[in-house]
């Protein structure tokens, strides 16, 4: 066990190395590229076994990953943003193959306009694919979640591929102290890749991923994927306990921070949640009873745990670092759907959209969200969803538009 400064991408690469992966189909994209460069360097220099192959697209990369896993080797891959979307046909497709592997997604906002910094619309586009999703808030978590993801995906009760999500820049390029477990400890924890009855070999022919005709067999295969994803909640908790026992770090499916006695709760995902933690500390110092809930697992969705943790709370501020055009925040919808009909659920859920394209969320903004939340619970009125956007930002965009010769006056 050593503790060293690692970026999120470094942690992801170390996780792959410790997991003794056999195969890495790869394709470069900012801000993920460092992961495959690191692995490539290690493999080329004999620091780790395995084979890395650069495909010509993410679509091909994910195809190769699924095909290799289906043949019976432990597979790792990584992408980001446009790359995940370019491969999206195969994200849905390989999940149905029931071949487990781990894909690190380094979240980056989607075009258009094309940009580099993160939000979660990329990974949320894969929400309904059959891939499980673990969302990380620290570089340590990137490493640990990747190891957990292999155990989870490869469990015979689950056998689904897993996306481990880390935020671009804020984790991918940010160094933090990370504890690296010993290789042997990880080996004991993960075991050898068990291909179960997935293989291509001369003595036992198999036709995998074959077509079906009609809604009835289709319903069976799809719903079994769903049941396996749901089963992953139970399996996750078992793995969480074993991981804690072995490595001393505990990762509940939903992270809760000061929620026990809280009246008010921030609800958000990803590494900006650590900013919310800081805000919780600040608010508590000012006498607030407030906490934070952060789902680590998005798929399967830990609905029961969320309901329990929110029982009796007065209000929740959902901060979505994503946007479903024409609907609003996706986490807000997801949360609402599991609380509806629960008489102990908080009566107020406010939707905030913040952090799009890596736009910062300041401590003052967290404080103000808390204030509005409290006011809404007192008045019993849910305010309209709000984008975190300041007057100064609006002035700035107007300046940019002036330079771009946008003739504002002509159209007003």
């Amino acid at each position: 066990m050593t503790r060293k400064l690692l970026t999120g991408n470094g942690a992801a690469a170390w996780a792959a190395r410790l997991a003794q992966i056999d195969y890495v189909p790869a394709f470069p994209i900012t801000p993920q590229t460092e992961i495959i460069e690191t692995l490539s360097h290690w493999i080329d220099n004999g620091d780790m076994p395995g084979k890395l192959v650069t495909l010509e697209s993410e679509h091909s990369m994910i195809t190769a990953a699924g095909a290799a896993a289906s043949t019976g080797v432990r597979t790792f891959t990584a992408t980001s943003s446009q790359g995940l979307l370019y491969g999206m046909e195969m994200i849905y497709t390989v999940a149905g193959w029931r071949a487990p592997f781990v894909l690190i997604n380094v979240s980056r906002a989607l075009a258009s306009p094309v940009t580099l910094e993160p939000d979660h619309n990329d990974v949320l586009a894969a929400r309904d694919s059959g891939f499980l999703q673990i969302h990380c808030a620290t570089c340590q978590e990137v490493l640990d979640a990747t190891l957990i993801a292999y155990r989870l995906g490869e469990d015979e009760r689950v056998r689904l591929p897993v996306i481990v999500n880390e935020d671009g820049f804020y984790l991918s390029f940010t160094r933090e102290p990370v504890t690296l477990p010993n290789s042997d400890e990880v080996k004991d924890f993960l075991g050898e890749f068990d291909a179960q009855n997935m293989h291509f070999s001369a003595s036992s022919p198999a036709s995998q991923a074959v077509a079906v005709l009609g809604g009835s067999p289709y319903s069976y295969f799809r719903y079994e994927c769903h049941l396996a994803a749901e089963k992953a909640l139970v399996v996750y908790d078992e793995i969480r306990d074993e991981f804690e026992q072995r490595f001393g770090r505990k990762y509940d499916a939903v992270e809760s921070y000061h929620t026990d006695d809280a009246d008010y709760v921030f609800f958000m995902m990803g590494c900006f949640a650590t900013k919310a933690k800081a805000a919780v500390d600040g608010l508590r110092a000012a006498g607030w009873k407030i906490g934070l809930l952060r789902p680590r697992l998005l798929r399967p969705y830990p609905a029961q745990a969320i309901r329990q943790l929110l029982t009796g709370k007065k209000g929740v501020a959902v901060i979505d670092q994503n946007l479903s055009m024409g609907k609003g925040g996706i986490l807000h919808s997801e949360l609402t759907s599991v609380l509806y009909g629960d008489k102990n659920a908080p009566s107020i859920l406010i939707s905030f959209i913040g952090g799009l394209g890596g736009r910062d969320i300041s401590q003052e903004e967290f404080f103000e969200m808390a204030k509005q939340l409290k006011q809404a619970t007192v008045e019993g009125i849910t305010p309209a969803p709000r984008l975190l956007y300041t007057a100064d930002e609006l002035r700035q965009i107007h300046k940019l538009q002036a330079i771009a010769h946008v003739e504002r006056e002509a159209y007003e």
Binding site: G96, W97, R98, E156, R157, V158, R159, L160, Q196, N197, M198, S204, P205, A206, S207, Q208, A209, V210, A211, V212, L213, Y220, F221, Y223, E224, L227, A228, K231
Partner: protein, 300 residues
């Protein structure tokens, strides 16, 4: 059958009915059994998709009737009428099928045996159906044929018309024999037997076939309308052109002689066209079945 469903749909439409017509697409290709549906009503039709309890079932190829996989008999009860394009009499079918549905037969044209009549089966079936339904005039029928077949040459349209009208006339005695079935009652209905789909892990529930050659269970021989028959006295035991070029792999060479697997031969007749000494002839399936019945009669 898609064409038949469209002609019938248009004919209903021409008579002022609300209509739905749709073919059912499967993976099977040309030659494979295909079915299509038509619904007509005086009011807007809200039901969709497969008709589970038909009022009228029309079978263009009688070899499908007795094949469970083809599903011809599904949902047939005393309310339904089954019209079969066949050489065999209605009485024989009624006995053979042991069904409560009324069975009628539209006699097969002799020229069916050389495929020439095949394209006109649809029109004939629709002509018969129109008369049975009693809701479609001959004019509306002909108009529908003209509309739906407008892409064909004039002589082909004419033959379609003629075949439809012939069949229309043939069914005079059964005119109006079909009654619309009452819709399913919400007060008294058969409860669906829903189950909780049990969780089965991926070793069982992945879409994987853990075996080889399972496709032989699919009897593609059903598709056949024409049957290649080897005249062994003319076979010159060449380099097995028939076996080598059969697209469907159904001709094997056993004891220095080619053998056709009729369970799977789809009747493409490539072998008939390719056999150098012309030792393979094509006969219609109807004819083949007829002679099989006759032979069976002689031996018993």
């Amino acid at each position: 059958m898609k064409t038949a469903s469209r002609i019938l749909g248009s004919a209903f439409f021409n008579e002022g009915y609300e209509v739905q017509d749709a073919p059912r697409y499967g993976a099977e290709r040309r030659g494979a059994p295909i079915f299509a549906f038509v619904r007509a009503d005086n009011k807007a039709i809200d039901e969709r998709g497969v008709i589970t309890h038909p009022d009228l079932v029309i079978v263009a190829d009688d070899s499908l009737v007795t094949v469970p996989a083809a599903g011809v008999m599904q949902g047939l009860d005393e309310h339904a009428v089954l019209l079969i394009n066949s050489h065999v009499s209605a009485e024989t079918w009624q006995q053979r099928l042991n069904t409560k549905a009324q069975v009628l037969v539209l006699p097969i044209k002799d020229a069916m045996q050389n495929r020439a009549e095949l394209p006109y089966v649809s029109a004939a079936c629709v002509g018969a159906a129109a008369r049975l339904l009693g809701m479609i005039s001959q004019n509306a029928l002909v108009r529908a044929i003209d509309e739906e077949l407008s892409h064909l040459a004039a002589d082909k349209i004419n033959t379609n018309r003629t075949r439809a009208i012939e069949a229309f006339e043939l069914m005079t005695t059964h005119e109006n024999c079909i009654q619309q079935r009452p819709s399913v009652s919400a007060l008294d209905y058969q409860q669906p037997e829903w189950v909780e789909l049990p969780f089965e892990d991926a070793r069982i529930s992945a879409p994987t076939i853990h075996a080889s050659l399972t496709s032989v269970e699919v009897k593609t021989g059903l598709w056949r309308t024409m049957r290649p028959v080897i005249e062994y006295d003319r076979c010159n035991h060449c380099w097995w052109i028939c076996s080598s070029t059969c697209p469907h792999n159904v001709i094997s060479v056993e004891d220095n002689s080619p053998v056709i697997d009729y369970d799977h031969c789809v009747g493409c007749l490539v072998c008939v066209a390719q056999c150098p000494p012309h030792a393979i002839k094509a006969i219609s399936e109807a004819e083949a079945k007829q002679s099989a019945v006759e032979q069976a009669g002689e031996t018993t």
